[in-house]
Symmetry: C2
Amino acid sequence: MQFTLEHTYGKARSGTVFTDHGVFHTPAFMPVGTQGTVKAVSQQILREIGVEVILSNTYHLYLRPGTEILNQAGGLHEFMGWDRPILTDSGGYQVFSLSDLRKIEEEGVQFRSHIDGSLHTFTPESVIDIQRLIGSDIMMVLDECIPYPCEKEYAESSNELTLRWAERCLNRFRSTDQLYGHGQSLFAIVQGSVFGEVRERSAHTLVDMGFEGYAIGGLAVGEPIEEMYDIVALCNDLLPREKPRYLMGVGTPENLLEAIDRGIDMFDCVLPTRNGRNAMLFTQHGSLNITNARFKNDFTPVDDSCECYTCRTYSRAYLRHLFQSKEVLGLQLATIHNLYFFQWLMRSARQAIALGNYSHWKEEQLNSLSQEIPVYS
Amino acid sequence: MQFTLEHTYGKARSGTVFTDHGVFHTPAFMPVGTQGTVKAVSQQILREIGVEVILSNTYHLYLRPGTEILNQAGGLHEFMGWDRPILTDSGGYQVFSLSDLRKIEEEGVQFRSHIDGSLHTFTPESVIDIQRLIGSDIMMVLDECIPYPCEKEYAESSNELTLRWAERCLNRFRSTDQLYGHGQSLFAIVQGSVFGEVRERSAHTLVDMGFEGYAIGGLAVGEPIEEMYDIVALCNDLLPREKPRYLMGVGTPENLLEAIDRGIDMFDCVLPTRNGRNAMLFTQHGSLNITNARFKNDFTPVDDSCECYTCRTYSRAYLRHLFQSKEVLGLQLATIHNLYFFQWLMRSARQAIALGNYSHWKEEQLNSLSQEIPVYS
């Protein structure tokens, strides 16, 4: 993997990540394909939307279809018919949020599957092995995901464990090789809750180890939004300029614009896909719930400035009808629109950075987004 | 609407139907878009599959979104973003199968909505008015759909009512005009259960009235398959050569090939879409249930001779994974494959008729289809 920084504006950056499955441009938003599919859309549609990189979840893929099948298929790219870059998380977050967590120890974490209750263990070494079998272009280290709020003392001791795990991941990564003929790289995850000192200790230690990219984890878990932005700014100041920076699990269009302004290059979030399936559509002028009765005879597109397939072809009234009738096509069209909107937002941010216009453009967008078409749900 | 007959082979026919929304070639299979969407696929995908005409259901559209919204939209084509031909049934079949049927009288049929229990009436006149508001290219008359088995006496008296209703539909059709600038035509429906005499009386009377096309209704409702084929053959011999013939609600690939052999031009059925959503896939070598464990590491396409998007892009193992994981993409990919298979079957039948090779080709297909990849469900 290579990363080239192309433009900066203040702390905001635009660049390109080069992988053996092609490039993606930053700032980048990665749609979430939890189970080897971005919910409700085909890989062809993802390409048409302009998606350059997706995220998939190690925890889910490990449980189903399992690494044996992924290995026989020749890796996840082959299995799912997606030849562009894939990033996988380490599975840590899902173990802490989805499974019936059993035990966290120095060695790793023992958990029960949310599907059938079966008992499993993730260690720093095993999550690297699993991601080797998945064949993702970018792999993530195993980390402990702590809740918010938490005591500083707990954040500190947890962080030390996460740092020891990061080193073990890196050792395993360096002592193993890719399986499918394309390169893989490993990103670290800065933890430390909302405690500046713990974040500093985390970032310094990880940077010294020398990863190919750095994520900021443990945010957007309930802390005040300004606190999140402060931690993002703090971490970015400690991370090397020449490596990509990835804010995990974030967020709203507003969050993305603010985080870009503080130096973030990559994002992932279920928001556009999950909200779309719940009839919530993002537009440049705020979000709307398409099931609202006032759309029943509104024959305009969801967003008349949007060029996605949904807006080019269908009306709000038709989308409302699909959701009222519980038709699968409603899920698809809403997902297409929301993903397109997030891609548009990232493309536009890139352009504004390149043009030296990011601050002004961001303020315009934030104003427009907060004009808020009322959401009824 | 115009119909030109291009080739015949025995009783099998190939031709072209010309409408103001373009042509469709016969034998034609019409995917069912009950609520103004062919379930699980977009209109763009229907075009890519090569679908030339779809069916939509008057009963469902009347209840939701309702004729007022369809009228404001400028008709169903505009509402759903589909500019190719649409045929609508009269709603009769759904009244008899879906709703809480209240009363059938000379005037029409009173029923309760399956959605909210509200009370409604369909008359021969109102179903024409509704189909004018929908704006379908081909409209159907209101008929009474009787169950199988039924007494001949009941079939006779019901048939007389259906004939009186057909005449009232035709009068209403002739005394009203299209609403959206494109022509609409009206097809009659031959009824009479499995009683040859009643079918004859029905066909003769309807042909004398002079419709633009003729459907055969009341079949595939439980009668022995040979009886269905005999009635189809009988009716076709009574119907005018120069008008399209439509066998309603049929059927399996085998049914289609046999009915074409007896002179049918048009079909509709939920089989490819509904079975697809239930993981049942049609292939030239029989059908398969993709959730079966033996497909878990089968990395070949569903059908390696199929050129659909699903078969060009994904493996059986991936499709199985999608169904096991209850992912929406599984519904889409299965629907795409099945619809493509039915379109392929119709294209191939047309070609065999044109080449004077239909009997031989049909036997080959029937042999291949019955090699039956075992279905586990």
